[in-house]
């Protein structure tokens, strides 16, 4: 997005002269929303980012925590929304490429990919084309790198018909003492590594910071996972030999941004010779070289410039191109030359300090309640809910991903509430990851909506028996210049700040994607994707979602008749109204500690967090996964109508299939945590139906074959 005349005047006043073309391009990239977070910075400060186990908080290319005393976990999440709308295959694929390089930047080995996709109705050819190609793009790139995609979130709504949201995350592992310091000092040479620089993908980051329009079409890059794989292997080799002090991805804003950010973080200056950059087209102009966003490129700074030859030997071995393009300096200026001509000469401080802007917010009119029709057939409703693309099984998505490569995946997609990944270091230790987001709750109340997503992911990580340690957020929202859209951005951040504080869950990184508007300038449904990571001491005790049968089903947590923003509301009424469920932080916390104990003591066969679609969906999926029948007593769930009991989306609930011999111990444990525990039904090995009773009357009797058919509906459309 071009600089405003105010911003240009500001820069020229500071410099006391006109900007060169190259300086203008550099500032345009550096001062874009994508790089500077100028509309959200003041709000993001409210997030809880510190905890004793946090090694690196927000600010670097990725965040890091001490997972165990000797294990550091590095993670990052980022959106690739705008590119994926224009070219779903390459847009999504290069999103994966970028996030993997971010994790490499801290010196970690990337071992897991996670995605959160918000796509269209699948009822139009366009939305089908977008969805198919986004999934294929992520799958192809990830699979070719040999990194598994073992968990994710897939949402469908007509709001994303033409503007999908593609959030991808990567997790890597290293040793705490081996995380790259990121420190550079004057005199250190700058090595540019990887792909040649070309005209493709020119100024992508300012492209990400404005609404899409026809002219953007040239700004698409084609990813090359094979070069990326070579970069990964070469850098892991260089990390092993302790050759590097700093590595940075060339992402949004290209070379200029990566260099300026490194200089600013280290409070040094930088001198770059743009004609030293290895190019794809020999006639590239200097402004193109400094802002090109050609993929698969990184800058690497050697720890010891006397060992450069060792470094280059590694790059030569992997046949990766590189060039020494300049060095850091003590004079705190960004200086760039092209064929002996100075093209950029500005203070580092100016480059990273756009003039302050204040964005206004205005609250929308709150949504009113709309009653359900009185003649709803509960069994038919269940079938409609189970076949809704948001609820039905996502096999069509995750089966295109290689979720098992690397041999670490203990609970793959469809087997647990979160992915459980083994460290594979000779111990039984591992970690659990879940990503959640709910555009419906955000639409009704962005503050609560964002908090609920954090609660949901936190609970899913707990349900498998892990202890939640950190979260990453990806905010997808509208145009910050429009107060009624910016309201959602600010409220979502505030909701996250509240929830992360109260759950004691530091946020170690994130990404904000703004300007997600349709061609008419209307905001598409904003949402925050939250990824929560937890540690697990013994992966063999991780609790999955598959029941064994002939055992009691115990619901932990309280069910209220909360149907605002629910799946059943959208299925029956076509939209959402009222208030989303209440965020019950206190119960969530108790539930997390309780769940960890249940897994440690091995009291249950299966655990499934109650999510969209309520208990009705939770039990249907468990019945499907375990191929078992289920009987339920609706009044044991809630003293309310069976409709409310089954479809309420009250939060802070986990449904357990408890080992019959451990039932008493399980119930006393729940009591000791002051958690409500209700035996709501049983699993049945020899009966293949789901039956729900209310006051002695059978309100649902559904064959498992019908349940399967409904839950597999998505496979026929995608």
């Amino acid at each position: 997005m071009p600089l405003t005349s105010f911003e240009i005047e500001y820069a020229q006043k500071v410099l006391g002269r006109k900007l060169t073309k190259e300086e203008l391009i550099l500032l345009e990239a550096e001062w874009s929303e994508h790089c500077s977070y100028k509309s959200t910075k003041e709000h993001l400060k409210k997030l809880k980012t510190i905890a004793p186990w946090v090694l690196i908080g927000p600010g670097r290319d990725a965040g890091a925590i001490k997972l165990f005393e000797d294990v550091a976990l590095v993670a990052r999440i980022e959106s690739h929304n705008h590119p994926s709308a224009v070219d779903p295959y390459n847009g999504a694929a290069t999103g994966v490429g970028g996030i993997v390089r971010d994790v490499l930047s801290l010196g970690a080995k990337p071992i897991l990919l996670v995605d959160a996709l918000y796509m269209g109705s699948l009822k139009t050819r366009h939305s089908q084309w977008l969805a198919t190609n986004i999934v294929k793009g992520i799958g192809d790139y990830g699979n070719r790198l040999g990194i598994p995609t073992a968990t994710g979130l897939t949402w469908f709504s007509k709001s994303y018909e033409k503007q999908p949201l593609v959030n991808v995350a990567c997790i890597g592992l290293t040793k705490p003492e081996r995380i790259l310091s990121g420190k550079v000092k004057p005199g250190d040479p700058i090595v540019l590594l990887g792909n040649t620089t070309g005209r493709d993908g020119f100024l992508g980051s300012s492209f990400a910071s404005k609404p899409l329009d026809e002219k953007d079409i040239a700004a698409i890059q084609v990813g090359n996972p094979f070069i990326e794989k070579l970069i990964i292997d070469a850098l892991l080799d260089a990390f092993d030999k302790n050759l590097l002090s700093h590595v940075k991805d060339l992402g949004g804003g290209g070379l200029g941004t990566a260099i300026v950010e490194t200089a600013a973080q280290n409070k040094v200056g930088v001198t770059v010779y743009l004609d030293k950059v290895h190019l794809r087209e020999p006639d590239l102009e200097p402004f193109e070289i400094l802002a090109s966003e050609s993929q698969e490129r990184m800058i690497v700074i050697p720890k010891d410039s006397n060992r450069l030859n060792e470094l280059f030997k590694i790059f030569d071995k992997y046949e990766i191109e590189y060039s020494i393009i300049g060095h850091f300096s003590s004079e705190k200026r960004v200086k760039m030359f092209f064929k002996n001509r100075s093209v950029v000469d500005i203070p580092v401080e100016l480059a990273v300090s756009p003039p302050r802007i204040s964005r206004k917010v205005s609250a929308p009119v709150s949504s009113f309640e709309v009653p359900f029709p009185t003649d709803v057939d509960i069994e038919k409703t269940l079938i409609s809910v189970l076949s809704s693309p948001r609820v039905s099984l996502k096999k069509a998505v995750y089966e295109q991903y290689d979720w098992g490569v690397g041999g670490r995946t203990v609970l793959p997609p469809g087997y647990g509430d979160s992915a459980v990944i083994w460290l594979r270091d000779g111990s039984k230790r591992g970690f659990a990851v879940s990503v959640r987001g709910n555009p419906r709750y955000v639409k009704l109340d962005p503050f609560t909506g964002a908090a609920l997503s954090l609660g949901d992911a936190y609970r899913r990580v707990s349900a498998v028996g892990a202890a939640p340690l950190a979260a990453l957020d990806n905010i997808n929202s509208g145009n910050p210049e429009k107060p009624n859209q910016h309201y959602y951005t600010v409220k979502m951040i505030e909701g996250l700040a509240y929830a992360s504080e109260i759950l004691n869950l530091p946020i170690i990184g994130g990404n904000v994607s703004l300007y997600n508007e349709d061609e008419k300038g209307s905001m598409i449904d904003p949402v925050t994707s939250i990824m929560v990571i937890g540690k697990i001491e013994n992966i063999t005790k991780a609790l999955g979602v598959v029941p064994v049968g002939d055992s009691p089903l115990v619901l932990i947590g309280k069910t209220e008749p909360e149907l605002g923003g629910s799946e059943v509301q959208e299925v029956i009424l076509g939209d959402v109204y009222g208030r989303p469920p209440v965020f019950r932080a206190d119960t969530e916390k108790k539930l997390a500690s309780f769940a960890k104990k249940v897994s440690e003591k091995e009291l249950a066969y299966a655990a499934h967090s109650v999510s969209i679609g309520g208990i009705a969906v939770t039990v249907s999926k468990m019945a499907y996964w375990g191929n078992v029948g289920i009987t339920l007593n609706s009044l044991a769930i809630c003293e309310c109508s069976p409709f409310e009991a089954l479809f309420s989306e009250s939060q802070a609930r986990i449904l357990y299939e408890v080992k019959p011999e451990s039932l008493q111990e399980f119930l006393s444990l729940a009591q000791s945590y002051k958690l409500k525990a209700s035996v709501i039904g049983h699993t049945l090995r020899n009966e293949k139906t789901i039956r729900v009773q209310h006051n002695g009357k059978e309100v649902i009797r559904l064959d498992l074959s019908k349940v399967s058919e409904s839950l597999e509906a998505l496979e026929k459309t995608l």
Binding site: R199, D200, I217, I220, V222, G223, F226
Partner: protein, 84 residues
Amino acid sequence: MSIYKILLIVSYKASARDPEGETIAHELKSLGYKEVIKVRVGKAFFFDIEAKDKEEASEKIKKIAFETKLHNPNVHDIMVISIV
């Protein structure tokens, strides 16, 4: 109406990268075919289609390709060639 044979070629736009083509060009050079300057890779579709004449046949293919997204106009160029 007669039946016409149309060849549709879909490839990345000249301004976009083509990793597959670049890799092949690189390999050919290393195999000794130094005269190879550049390789671009694409996808070919051979159609038999009913139309009034060659021109209409080509137009129909362009329309079908656009509507069914055999190519993404944002990243691909197409060539429509009438063959005998």
